[in-house]
């Protein structure tokens, strides 16, 4: 299977480095309570990665679909759109 990074590389983004628009509300919920961590599988851009201790959120590749927020069994993702003019900027759509 082709790597998702190669697909995301084709897209145009304007990243707001200082303002991550995705944030885990409570790290301990991902660590202790959440068994299957469905955000990892559900995200079409592989934004979420479990490093064994905490959830790494690579918000730069986010396609702003909203799946992670809805799939999280604990409502533990603070989800907003990036600020105006930032984030994914599709050429074709």
């Amino acid at each position: 299977m082709p790597r998702i990074e190669d697909k995301l590389y084709l897209n145009r983004y304007r990243t707001d480095e200082k303002h991550p628009h995705l944030r885990i509300k409570d790290e301990s919920i991902c660590r202790d309570k959440c068994k299957d961590r469905p955000c990892i599988n559900g995200c079409p851009a592989d934004v979420y990665e479990w490093d064994g201790e905490r959830m790494d959120v690579k918000f730069e590749g986010c396609l702003e679909c909203g799946t992670c927020r809805i799939i999280c069994p604990f409502g533990n993702i603070d989800w907003e759109y990036p600020n105006g003019n930032y984030g994914i900027l599709y050429k074709f759509g």
Binding site: C65, I71, Y81, G84
Partner: protein
């Protein structure tokens, strides 16, 4: 104080918001469209079929305008449905000469279409404000909505009414108090799509059409590994849109990545034969949610000085892959409701309820209501995706494959095949269930 003030602020520069703004501005209402993307369309995604009827209602000569403005890709003259088995497909389709002279739908790329539509809206007199995100509402001492707060410095915009056309994620709809909770995993599908490069002449020969003409293929079956979802292949001018969507609740339960499903689809032998090496020439990779909750999952679509349109209002009929036409029509209804309300000087909830009545009297809520039980039925009856696509392929293969077996025996073999995988009684019951949920 120098306040920025409009009659109406539309949040979201997609088909719903632009349609509302176009109708309002055409009647001289002072309206602003606030869009978070670089330009309207830069964050928009859909599979790619735009029905023309709702645009014809508001823009004169729209077909010629769309073509000359390069806002659309190809005129859909043929629509197909594939039932995909592991090694075969059952095809059903329809092609019609009448669509060549009287177009019904175009394939589109939203970055082009939305940008074109936004220019029309500006020409009609509205102000389109891109690169600006609306964070919340401004309210007066009584809690009434009197404008929107944007992320720009000094970015408060005052108005007499707000049209929420924010799309599928109901961030502002919840803040407006019109939806109590966020979407549940069974109320939306996550769809992924790739735009793959294909020269115009190759598109023509691949899909059997002339330049300017296109075809659509919807695909149900083995690619989804038993998940409830729909795949599609749409021909564009010099590219192809290929994608698929599956219910978030299914993705969560089965733990299959959305992108893996798209790979399944792209690597099915029939798709490989159709698109050949072009299927790997990806130009863009996109993802978006599709509202699937239908009638039961709708928010309240009106309140004091506020209306909700398009995907934000869950106005999608997924079985007919219709969404942008509901968006454009609901935007028009919202505008017509506001025109009456502004004239009467009454923007109260009671007055704006007329918007919901317009939706109810139209195809929008009639269709959503008609199919309200389809998704719940499908969710409970996995056989529709797990058993039938393969069964149909194997049965038709057996029927058409000539190997010297007498036809009576072939028929018996097929009947046995059906009995083995799904008893005849269950099959009849399934047909009845399906019929009941779509009748």
């Amino acid at each position: 104080m120098n306040r920025i003030e409009f009659d109406v602020v539309v949040v979201g520069g997609g088909p719903a918001g632009l349609s509302a703004a176009y109708v309002l501005a055409s009647k001289g209402v002072k309206v602003a469209v606030i869009e978070k993307g670089e330009y309207p369309g830069s964050k928009s995604v859909m599979g790619g079929v735009l029905y023309l009827n709702p645009l014809k209602e508001i823009i004169p000569n729209v077909v010629e305008e769309l073509k000359s403005g390069k806002a659309v890709e190809r005129n859909v003259i043929e629509q197909n449905m594939w039932l995909m088995g592991k090694d075969g497909i059952v095809k059903i389709g329809h092609r019609n000469e009448r669509w060549k002279t009287d177009p019904n739908a175009f394939t589109v790329l939203r970055a082009n279409f939305d940008r074109w539509f936004a220019k029309k809206v500006e020409k009609a007199g509205a102000l389109v404000i891109p690169k600006t995100k609306v964070e919340d509402f401004l309210r007066d001492g009584d809690g009434k909505i009197i404008g929107v707060r944007t992320t720009r410095p000094k970015g408060d915009v005052y108005c007499r009414a707000v049209v929420i056309a924010e799309g599928v994620n109901p961030i502002l709809t919840i803040k407006a108090g019109l939806r109590k909770e966020d979407l549940k995993p069974n109320m939306a599908a996550v769809a992924v799509k790739e735009i793959v490069d294909m020269p115009e002449e190759v598109v023509n020969s691949t899909f059997g059409v002339e330049s300017e003409e296109g075809t659509t293929i919807e695909i149900l079956g083995s690619w989804s590994e038993g998940l409830f979802g729909m795949g599609f292949i749409y021909s564009n001018k010099n590219s192809v849109s290929i994608g698929c969507g599956a219910l978030i609740s299914d993705i969560r339960e089965k733990g299959i990545k959305p992108y893996k499903l798209l790979e399944n689809l792209k690597n099915h032998p029939a798709v490989v034969d159709l698109l050949k090496e072009y299927r790997t020439q990806t130009k863009e990779y996109l993802a978006h949610l599709i509202p699937e909750g239908g009638y039961y999952a709708m928010p309240k679509v009106y309140g004091d000085r506020v209306l909700v349109c398009g995907d934000a209002a869950m106005l999608v009929n997924s079985i007919h892959r219709e969404g942008s036409n509901h968006a454009i029509t609901s935007g028009r209804f919202a505008a017509e409701t506001l025109l009456e309300a502004l004239d009467a000087g009454d923007l109260s909830e009671k007055k704006l309820k007329a918007y919901e009545e317009k939706l109810r009297e139209s195809f929008i809520l009639k269709d959503l209501k008609k199919y309200r039980d389809l998704m719940p039925t499908m969710e409970k009856n996995r056989q529709f995706v797990e058993i039938y696509p393969d069964l149909a392929n194997d049965a038709i293969y057996r029927f058409l494959h000539v190997d010297g077996t007498p036809k009576w025996d072939v028929q018996r073999e097929i009947l046995d095949m059906v009995r083995e995988r799904r008893s005849l009684a269950s099959l009849s019951l399934d047909l009845l269930k399906f019929w009941k949920s779509v009748r």
